[in-house]
C-alpha cells in the first residue's frame, strides 16, 4: 500500500511541478510565502483542533448510540451521516447563517464575547461539522463488536467503571480512534465548500490552504497553485500512511483473541 501510494502520488506531484515548470527557489517562494504560510497554519492547525475535538465528541456520540437506549435513536443514528450526504456548499452557507453575528448561535456566542463566523473559530466549526461522522462511523462498529466478556473479566477482578474504560475499552478502540482522527483530519485539511463561507477569507487571518489554490488559479498563477497543491498532497499522503498503518495495527491486534 505504501509503495502504491508512492507510485501514484509522486507522479501527480511531478505532474504539478513539471507543468508549472518551477525551479526549487521559485517553488519555495510560491509554496511558502507569508500569506500561504498563514493559510497552512490555519488549515493544519484548524484541522488538528477539529480532529481532536471530533475524536472526543465522536467517541461520546458513538458510545451513546451503541450503549444507551433513548427515543429516536435510529433517527439520530441516521442523521450522523448528514455531513456525508449534505453538499458542502449547503453546509457552508447554513453554518455561516447559524454562526454569523445575526445568526441564532452567532448572536448567543457574541453575547459572551466570542465571534465565530469570519474568524479562525468559524473555520474550526465547519471542520468539526465535516469530520464528525468519520470518527463516529469508524468507532461505532468497533464499540459494537466489543465482547462483554472482557469488561466482565475486568470488573470481576475488581476494576471500577473508569478503570474498565481506560485499561480495557480504550486500548481496544484506540486504533479505530486513530483512524477516525486521521480521516477527519484529512477531510478537514482538504475541505473547501463548507469552510470558505464561514471563514470570511481575510488574507493572513482566515484563509485556508485550498482557498489559496483557488485564488492563485483565479489569478492564472498556475505555478503557484501547483506548488501549494503539492504541499497539500504530501500532507494527504502522510495521512494516508497513518490511516493504513492504523488499520494494519488494528488488524494485528484483532488477530489474536
Amino acid at each position: 500500500m505504501f509503495a502504491a501510494a508512492l507510485i501514484v502520488l509522486v507522479p501527480i506531484s511531478a505532474l504539478f511541478l513539471r507543468s508549472a515548470g518551477l525551479t526549487w527557489d521559485q517553488f519555495i517562494a510560491a509554496a511558502f510565502s507569508p500569506r500561504v504560510m498563514a493559510s497552512y497554519r490555519l488549515s493544519f492547525g484548524g484541522a488538528l483542533i477539529a480532529a481532536v475535538f471530533n475524536v472526543i465528541a465522536g467517541l461520546i456520540v458513538a458510545w451513546v448510540l451503541v450503549r444507551y437506549d433513548f427515543p429516536f435513536r435510529k433517527l439520530v443514528d441516521a442523521l450522523v451521516d448528514l455531513p456525508f450526504a449534505l453538499p458542502t456548499a449547503v453546509a457552508g452557507v447554513a453554518l455561516t447563517a447559524l454562526y454569523a453575528p445575526k445568526g441564532v448561535l452567532g448572536k448567543a456566542l457574541l453575547s459572551i464575547g466570542i465571534k465565530a463566523a469570519f474568524t479562525p473559530l468559524g473555520v474550526v466549526l465547519a471542520m468539526i461539522f465535516i469530520g464528525l461522522p468519520f470518527v463516529v462511523r469508524t468507532v461505532q462498529p468497533v464499540l459494537q463488536d466489543l465482547e462483554d466478556e472482557h469488561e466482565e473479566a475486568a470488573v470481576s477482578l475488581g476494576a471500577d467503571r473508569w478503570q474498565v474504560f481506560t485499561y480495557v475499552i480504550l486500548p481496544s478502540i484506540l486504533p479505530a480512534l486513530v483512524t477516525g482522527f486521521a480521516l477527519a483530519f484529512a477531510r478537514a485539511l482538504g475541505e473547501y465548500g463548507s469552510v470558505i463561507f464561514i471563514a470570511g477569507n481575510m488574507p493572513g487571518v482566515s484563509e485556508i490552504a485550498p482557498l489559496m489554490i483557488v485564488t492563485k488559479l483565479e489569478q492564472y498563477d498556475y505555478a503557484g497553485a501547483s506548488a501549494i497543491a503539492t504541499v497539500m498532497l504530501v500532507a494527504a499522503f502522510a495521512m494516508l500512511l497513518v490511516i493504513n498503518s492504523a488499520q494494519k495495527w488494528h488488524q494485528t491486534r484483532l488477530a489474536g483473541r
Binding site: A153, S156, G158, D160, Y167, A255
Partner: protein, 368 residues
Amino acid sequence: MMIDIRNVHKTFGGFPALSDVSLKIKEGELVALLGPSGSGKTSLLRILAGLEFPDSGQVLFDGGDATNVSVRDRRVGFVFQHYALFRHMTVFDNVAFGLTVRRGPGRLSKEEIGDRVRHLLEMVQLGGLAERYPSQLSGGQRQRVALARALAIQPKVLLLDEPFGALDARVRKELRRWLRNLHDELKITGVFVTHDQEEALDVADRVVVMNKGRIEQAGTPTQIYDSPATPFVYQFLGNVNSLECHIRDGVAQIGSLTLPASAYAGVQEAAGLAFVRPHDLLLSKMGEGAGAQAEVRHISILGPLVRVELLLGEQVLEAEISRQRHAELGLKIGQQVLIWPRQARFFLRDSWQGTSLLDPETPIDHAI
C-alpha cells in the same frame, strides 16, 4: 467458602432461565453444573459471580446475603469460556490486572505484585511466558493464564464457565487432571459449568444436573451415574437404551420381555419408559438362559468392546459386551439371541417432568 442458593428465579425477556433453584455448596467443594445449552447452568454461574442478578431468591456466601453485592466487591475468581484475556496486555499484565486496579488499603506495591504474579505463573507452569501476548499462546496456555488471573485476587470462590469447551480433546483431558490437582492443593470452593458428562463425572466432587432452568438431580458422580433420578438424567448421562413399556401391577412388559417393577405395584395400567444401559444388557444363546428373544441387526467392534444392535419386537436397542463374550456367543447378523437386563429403571409416561416420579433410593435390580 460456603455458598447457599435459595429459591432463585431468573427470566430473560419472558423466557425462564432459572425457576426455583436451591443448592448448597460446601466449603472446599468442587461442583459441576451439568446440562444442555439453555438449561440455565451458565445463568446460575453468572448469578453466583454477580454478573447477573436473580429476579427473586437469595445467594448467601458464608451465611451472609450476597444477592445484591456487585461483582466488583464479591471477590470471585471467574474464568470465562473464551478466557477473555486482555489482548493488548502481556501475560504478566493480564495476571497482575486485578492487583493493579486495586485501590485503598489492600493495594500492593509493585514488587509485591511482581512476586505474586511470578508465583502464580510458576504454579500454572507458565513461568517463562510472562512477556508473551495472549495471541502468541496455545489454547491450553491461555486457559491457564485465565486461571492464574482469576486466582491472583485470592478469590473466595472460583467460578469457571465451560473451562475446557474450546480446547481439543487431548489438551482437555490433560487440563482436567491438572485442574483437579490444583483444586486439591488450594482447597478453594469451585463451581464449573459443563455440558460434557464425562468431564463432570471425572473432575467434580458433586454434580448438579440441570434442565430447563431446574435442578434435576444433585449428587456425587457415582450417585448420578448409578441412580439417575429422572429420565432426563438417564438420557443425558451417556449411552442408554430407552424402551417403550407397559406397567401393570408391579410388572413391566417390554415387547416379549417381562420384568418386575415393584415400585409400581399399585399402578393398574400405564405406559412407561424403561432405561437399560448397554453394558447392563446380557446376551446368551437361544435355550441357554432366561430372557426375551431378539435379533442381531448389526455388530461393531470398538476396541475391547463389541457393540451389538438388537431388534426386540419393533424396538431397537444396543448392548455392549466384551470381545471374549462375543467370541463365545459367535454372533452373526440375523441370529436370534436371548437378552436380559441386569438392571433397569422404569418411569411412567404420565408424570415425566420433575423428580417426583420415583423414589431414587430404590432402584429396581434384577439379577439372573
